[in-house]
Structure formats: C-alpha cells, structure tokens
Amino acid sequence: MDLASAQVIGAGIAAIGVGAAGVGVGFVFGSFLQGALRNPAAAGGQTGTLYIGFAAAELLGLMAFAVAMIILYAR
C-alpha cells in the first residue's frame, strides 16, 4: 500500500473518535434534560455547568478531528 492510500484509511479510522464524542455530547445534554425536567426550578442555575461538561466532551471529538486532519495532510 502506498503512503497516500494509507493516509486516507488512517484519517478515516481516526474520524471514529468524532462519533464517540457525539455520544458523549448527547449524554451530557440528555442527562441535563432529565434532571431539568424533574426539577425545572433548579435548571436555570446549572447552564454554566452544562456548558463546561459539553466543552469537556466536545474537546475530545475535536482532538480526534485534528488528528485525522494531521494524518490526512501530513507530508
């Protein structure tokens, strides 16, 4: 296999991590919604915490994207 094909395959495998981060982000918002529907009065004060959790989960997906791009365009 030549280098270009290996790069494309490797970038595709690295992109799996983005889907995993999608699961994480969905879990963050889903859990927040569950808690917020049980106690709507307390939900408003927790949006900051929600976005911190979102940021932490999303960062890993963005890292996977960055790794895929580095593999794809590395010379």
């Binding site: 900051g48 976005y51 911190i52 979102f54 940021a55 999303e58 960062l59 960055a66 791009m69």
Partner: protein, 258 residues
C-alpha cells in the same frame, strides 16, 4: 471545477492583500488582518449604535444591553463579587470570537472579488487569545497570592501519601488548559467550514453532471448546507460562550484558590 478534486483547505490560505511592494518585507497586510479589522468595525458599529443611553431603550440599545448584561452576569456568577475587574477581557474575548465566527459564516462569497475569511479558523488567533487569558490567570494568581499560588495544585483534604501524585496531575491539567482553550474555537470553525466547502462543492458538481442522480445529489447537499449553516451560527455562539465561561472559571481559580 466540474468533477475535479475538492480542495477544502484553500479557504484557509493566508495571502497578502493589495500591492506587493512590500513583498520582500516580513510585515504584510494579509487577508487575516483585513478581516480582523472588519470584525472590529462590526463590533464598534454595533456597540456605537447602542450608546444613546435612553431611559426606555430602543431595539438596538436593548440588544447591546442584553449582551453586556449577559456577560456581566456570567462574570459575576463565575468569579464572584469582585469579578467586574476582569469583565473587560472576558467581554473582549466573547465579542471578538462571536463576531469573527458570525462574520466568517456570512455568504460574502457571492460578492465578486470578495474573499471571505474566518479569522477564528486560524490557531494563531485563538491561541494568542488563550495565551492572553492564561497570562491574566498567572499574573492575578502570583500578584494576589505570591508563592501560595502553588497550593492551587493541592486540593483540600488530600491524603498525605497522594500529595506528590495529585500535584503532578493537577499541574499537567493546569498546563494543558491554554492549549485546549485555544484549540476549541479554532477546530470548531475549521471543521464547520471544511464541511460547508465539501458539501457546497457537491452542489456545484451535481449541477454540472447533468444527470437525474446528479440533480438529486444537488438537492440533498443544498438542504444539508442550509442546515449546517444554521448549525454554524449556533456553534459559533456556543464556542464564544464556552471561551468566556472557561476564562472566567480559570480566573476564579486564580483569585480564590479553590
């Protein structure tokens, strides 16, 4: 490009603007600098329109007051009662990232000879902003607490045996922060614009193919581009908010040491 190779990276290329008299000079006025000035102009125009200070605010003034009130609220909630000192930088970071993300998402490409450029899709820009945030954290921490600032890495109630390990772990987590803070808005814009470029090329290539399947691909890709554009506006706002919120939290750590 009818059926050519899609080149989604071209939109991020930085090139000098105007005459190339300064071509030999290391100082050049690039398209990045031009769009930073445009973003600054947008922010100044927006804020200037809301400076009438009427008792009953009009629509524009209400929008400006919404922005300032929201950021004031975030800062006070995250840092505490003495948080207003740090509001200028948090306001600057939020408005700049938000305006740059949204100006970059606008369809200026339909104007001939205009080359739209998203400033925040360059790590040099967001990385510099995160370094400024981090410099403020370190400066405030050492100014307020001196060498006691290092107790930031030792949470209360840690067992004595674990102290060296916890110190190293907390130190690493602290040192990764500026990197992750700058990486987040950069990759979000970068990925979104690559997606838009790729699916925008699908629209054009499907039209050029001249077949029924090609027109179907065009219709699907066009609907997807519209959806992703809406998502880009949301992501741009969320990333600006996350940058401001995390900066405020890091400053809170430096001010209060846990």
């Amino acid at each position: 490009m009818a059926a050519g190779k899609i080149d989604p990276m071209h939109q991020f290329a930085i090139a000098p603007v105007g005459s190339d008299q300064l071509a030999a000079s290391p100082f050049q006025f690039t398209n990045s600098a031009l769009w930073m000035l445009i973003v600054l102009g947008v922010i100044v125009a927006f804020m200037w329109g809301g400076r009438k200070r009427e008792l009953v605010p009009g629509r524009w003034q209400a929008a400006v007051e919404l922005l300032t009130g929201f950021l004031d609220n975030v800062t006070m909630q995250s840092i505490g009662a003495d948080g207003r000192k740090y509001l200028p930088w948090i306001f600057t970071a939020f408005t700049f990232i938000l305006a740059a993300n949204w100006v970059g998402a606008m369809p200026f490409g339909i104007v001939p000879a205009a080359h739209p450029f998203t400033v925040t899709s360059q790590f040099t820009v967001t990385g510099t902003m995160s370094i400024i945030s981090f410099a403020i954290v370190l400066g405030v921490g050492f100014w307020k607490h001196g060498l006691k600032f290092f107790t930031l890495f030792l949470p209360h109630g840690t067992p004595k045996v674990l102290l060296p390990i916890i110190f190293v772990v907390e130190l690493i987590s602290f040192l990764v922060r500026p990197f992750s803070l700058g990486l987040r808005p950069f990759i979000a814009m970068f990925a979104g614009h690559i997606l838009l470029d790729v699916f925008g090329s699908f629209v054009v290539q499907g039209l050029n193919s001249g077949s029924i399947v090609g027109y179907g691909v065009t219709a699907l890709a066009f609907a997807f581009v519209v959806f992703v554009n809406a998502l880009e506006l949301l992501v741009g706002a969320i990333q600006a908010f996350v940058f401001a919120l995390l900066t405020a939290l890091y400053i809170h750590d430096a001010v209060h040491l846990h």
